[in-house]
């Protein structure tokens, strides 16, 4: 089949427009000059070396890791039950509740963030990492549900029936059959939801109070021109970590889909 001419060129331009700016980040992080502009003065790893000495940065990283892990575990645990229910049972309001779970994907972050801030304060919960964890769990839930739903879609229900038939109760069946079979899906969900939380800025900015997560810390540093190269180095590392996590997550997600004998 012949492709219309120019379409390939258009596709490449489109991709370049999308991703080239992202590549400037690592490029300038190796620039020895402090001004982000061509020509590049010289190559250095200094900006990376200096990162380790900044205590507030390390603290922000620790905050982000903690928030990311807790909200990843919470959203994946909740997603597990939701996804199983959506794929196994037909119940009244199933479509409506699934739509509700998926809502954070389309509602503007600023609206979610400001309404959560109002809600938490009216409930007596001050801006804190706990508030960020709750917000990120809510934000990551649709990712967990859709990944785990595809894991359950490929799960043969008679596996659980076979376990029951061979003498296992409901709980033993879950631990010995359901959980191990969908484990790759669970790992994929944890990695993706962690990445969602780790990179998230708007909610964290509104809810984190005086203990910033890494993206909030980076934002605060951009205001100081002298710190900019450090921030670029940090950003590049985050970019690399996110890509790695998502690649690993995709690997597990595909394994989950293939697990059917």
């Amino acid at each position: 089949m012949r492709r219309p001419s120019g379409l390939t060129a258009y596709a490449f331009l489109y991709l370049a427009f999308l991703y080239l700016p992202v590549l400037f980040l690592p490029l300038f992080s190796f620039n020895s000059g402090t001004i982000v502009a061509f020509p590049i003065k010289g190559w250095t790893l200094d900006w990376y070396r200096q990162l380790g000495a900044q205590d507030t940065l390390i603290q922000a990283l620790a905050n982000s890791l903690m928030v990311g892990m807790v909200s990843a575990l919470m959203s994946t645990a909740m997603g597990l039950f939701a996804a199983r229910a959506y794929t196994r049972y037909r119940f009244q309001g199933s479509a409506a509740s699934e739509g509700l779970v998926m809502l954070p994907l389309v509602v503007p972050g600023i609206i979610v963030a400001s309404s959560m801030l109002v809600l938490f304060i009216s409930l007596g919960l001050k801006p804190s990492l706990t508030a960020v964890i709750l917000g990120h769990t809510f934000l990551a839930l649709p990712f967990a549900v859709s990944i785990l739903k595809s894991a359950f879609d490929d799960f043969d229900v008679s596996l659980e029936e076979a376990a029951r038939d061979l003498g296992s109760g409901v709980i033993e069946t879950f631990w010995r059959v359901t959980l191990p079979v969908i484990a790759p899906g669970i790992v994929a969900s944890i990695l993706v939801t962690f990445t969602v939380s780790f990179d998230e800025f708007v909610l964290a900015f509104f809810l984190s109070g005086n203990r910033p997560t890494l993206p909030v810390y980076i934002w605060s540093q951009i205001r100081f021109p002298a710190k900019l190269p450090n921030t670029l180095a940090l950003g590049s590392l985050l970019l690399l970590a996110s890509i790695l996590l998502l690649v690993v997550a995709e690997y597990f997600r595909r394994r989950a889909t293939k697990s059917r004998v």
Binding site: D156, S158, E161, A162, A163, R164, D165, L166, G167, S259
Partner: protein, 366 residues
């Protein structure tokens, strides 16, 4: 083997909302028999099996296994084990762990587990394959693992849901014999669900035929073939020519009938028919008809016809013969004795029929 039924269904029904999947099913199974539930897809046979297994609770009636009422008893506490249509081999465990699953669940001592797993795998001719991964098995091997995994539990009843439908023809026929052998040597009651009449007939001691959620007839294969209780069963099991007829007289196990095309015949009465009547549907198996160039002697009825179609099956040849007075062509099956196909389309032939081979199918319902 005892005479008390190992499984007894009394007036069992199951409805899903307004849909009646199984209605008023009563059945008693003897210990050690190979029983098949046969019917088209959607007839309720799988639902019936799942009610015995404990995956579905009947909405009416009573399921008893070994004299015990099974109401409220879940699948994991019933003395039955099941071979699933998809085989449901645990993909994250190797063959040995799959077969050992149930024994570990029961906390059987380790050395005994190993011995029983080895024995079960030997039984299904997979001896020594304990370490093989579940994803590395062929279709036939997976079927054998599923069988071993169920049999290792030493169930009172083994339930099989379309166990051979995923296998190719050759393997299916081999497994039919192997499973039949296994069942005889173990003496365990097998209950199999199938839509394949040949599978049911070659393997079973008795067959229950189901249509639209109802158990229509329960009999041994030969009786089912020779004395089906109505036209529906007759057309589902094997091939059948349906010829309308009039009953003119009835006396001690014999019916005098006038069959369309063939004329007057004396045929045996069928004790299984539900509704005997004046106008009866008569069934003639294709292999019971004689086909010849000249009018055959020694037959109770003969009729002339024209060959309208020839189908060569290898082991036999099917002719369709158009006969005056019968709407649809009569199917005749002849064994391929001498590797010759004797008649061609358009040939004038004679058909010969013995009264004893005609099956009374009762009142015409359509």
């Amino acid at each position: 083997m005892t005479d008390t039924p190992i499984i007894s269904l009394s007036n069992v029904g199951k409805s899903f909302g307004s849909f009646q999947a199984v209605s008023a099913m009563s059945l008693e199974l003897k210990e050690g028999e190979f029983f098949s539930l046969l019917g088209p897809s959607g007839c309720g046979k799988t639902t019936a099996l799942r009610m015995i297994a404990g995956f579905q609770e009947p909405t009416q009636g009573r399921v008893e296994i070994d004299g015990r009422d099974m109401a409220g008893i879940p699948a994991n506490r019933r003395p039955t084990n099941m071979v699933f249509q998809s085989y449901a081999i645990f993909p994250h465990r190797n063959v040995g762990d799959n077969v050992a699953y149930g024994l570990r669940s029961q906390k059987v001592p380790k050395p005994e587990i190993a011995a029983r797993v080895a024995e079960a795998l030997e039984m299904v001719e997979l001896g020594g394959l304990e370490r093989r991964g579940a994803t590395e098995l062929s279709g036939g091997q997976r079927q054998r693992v599923a069988l071993a995994r169920a049999l290792v539990m030493r169930p009172r009843v083994l339930l099989l849901d379309e166990p051979l439908s995923a296998l190719d023809k050759k393997l299916r026929e081999q497994m039919q014999f192997e499973m039949r052998h296994l069942q005889r040597s173990l003496g365990i009651t097998f209950v199999m669900v199938t839509h394949d009449q040949y599978e049911a007939m070659t393997m079973s001691d008795r067959i229950g035929v189901m249509f639209d959620g109802r158990l229509v007839q329960v009999d041994d294969p030969a009786t089912l073939y020779a004395r089906p209780c109505n036209s529906k069963v007759a057309s589902f099991i094997g091939e059948m020519n349906f010829i309308p007829g009039e009953v003119t007289a009835e006396s001690s196990g014999k019916l005098s009938v006038t069959a369309a095309g063939f004329g007057a015949l004396a045929i045996p009465a069928n004790p299984n028919v539900e509704t005997p009547g004046k106008s009866a549907m008569l069934g003639i198996r294709p292999e019971q008809l004689e086909i010849a160039k000249a009018q055959p002697a020694d037959y109770d009825a003969t009729v002339r016809g024209t060959v309208s179609d020839v189908a060569f099956y290898g082991e036999n040849v099917h002719y369709h013969v158009q006969v005056d007075g019968i709407d649809r062509p009569v199917a005749v099956s002849v064994p391929n004795y001498f590797h010759t196909v004797d008649y061609r389309q358009g040939d004038q032939v004679w058909l010969g029929l013995l009264g004893d081979s005609v099956i009374d199918l009762g009142q015409q319902d359509q």
